[in-house]
Amino acid sequence: MPDDLKKVAYYPGCALEGTGHAYNRSTKAVGKELGLELVELKDWNCCGAMEVKNIDPKIQTYLSARNLSIAEDMGFDKVMAPCNGCYHNLKKAEYDLKNDAGSKEVNARLSGKAGHKTYEPGAVETIHALDWIKQAVGEEELEKRVKNSLKGIKVANYYGCMYTRPRHIFPEKDKGPASESTSKPHFMDDILGAAGAENVDFPLKTACCGGAHSLSDSDTSTKLVLNILEAAEACGADVVATECPTCHTGLEMHQMRAEKVLGRKTNVKILYFTQLLGMALGLSAKTVGVQENMSDSRAFLKEKGLG
């Protein structure tokens, strides 16, 4: 196991303290079970999410850079962000600070005003929870550690749209079979496959879930989510595995709304990949927070001998 991945800085982001609490809980539990350590950033702030970025992208860059600066101050060269939005924003800040003089200037000025060190690009690498588990442990080791195989569970792995886009902020991707692909991501497939799951061929793994339209145009979001869920079922999936709290919440919420508003019911279960992996490693459904999900997968998991 690479030493620099055994203990990494942890940036949960706002969603993991709210609607994505089960993702937070299961990520920490899986890390502990695998002998990995997460050290949460002290006094972290919002990454700038979508809202700040829309108003002023340079402030978003500063907000994300401040988190990277904290990681550096704490002595880390890697920070793990399990939320796609946070992961994307921290990566984008890194890119902007390297390539845009205006962003660099604003970051330096605001950092000075706030009284902390100005983050210089290249000091800290942002990784996703998928990178962390895949690279720190790997499939071979995961296979050895599985106590309750996910055998017999068909999974559609849903990565969402921010994990791989835009391509230019992810220079480490698309570097051959061992690296992540921006067009056909596979790290979640690899990890859950090692835990025994049967990954189905799913054509909408990076399709938009309508997250940004959730409040302004709920009907569009509901239709997009319904299409994702119906496609997953058509591919034979029992479960849609997620790796982003926004996607996850959107899928759960609009699965219920589709039934209520459009009268279209889907039965596919929605679980964080860390919940599935945690249960495969022998953790209980409660430990990985299945009861905190909006959709109820407990009977299904029990039937499959998990949890």
Partner: protein, 158 residues
Amino acid sequence: MTADRPTIDEVVARTDALIRGDRPVADPLAAGDELLAMGEAVLEAWIESRDKDPTDDEVEGFRLLGLHRQGAKGDPSFNACRETCREIVYHRNVIHAETDSALQQRMVRLGAMVVRHLALFVGGKLQEAGLGDFCCSSRPVRQGDGNKNTTGNAAAPV
């Protein structure tokens, strides 16, 4: 708008019918091409809504991908449907390459789901024009209007 081009609502209705699959598609090869054509129609609607003429250029041999490239120019959030377009091409190609009839039928159905996703995505964006920048991909810092409210302005209250 081209007279014989299906509207986004018609694309959704047609894909719904293909997905329901009440009976097998008689000509899967034609259905594969129809998926591609419906994808092009959706992107043409998007491009025309931005007062541009849809391109005839191809990318990797497909006009659909050329249209996507054109549609995403100046609007990085449109890249959220890049892989969706590539999946349509993939499904069309598998339908043409496959000789197993059952698999062809399955790919027509899955391909229709992908086209429906594109239609819903673009339809949503057309309804909520302006929310594009709010979406996933970052507004490029190189883009002039991205700097309008920036703290680079000394008068900005930051």
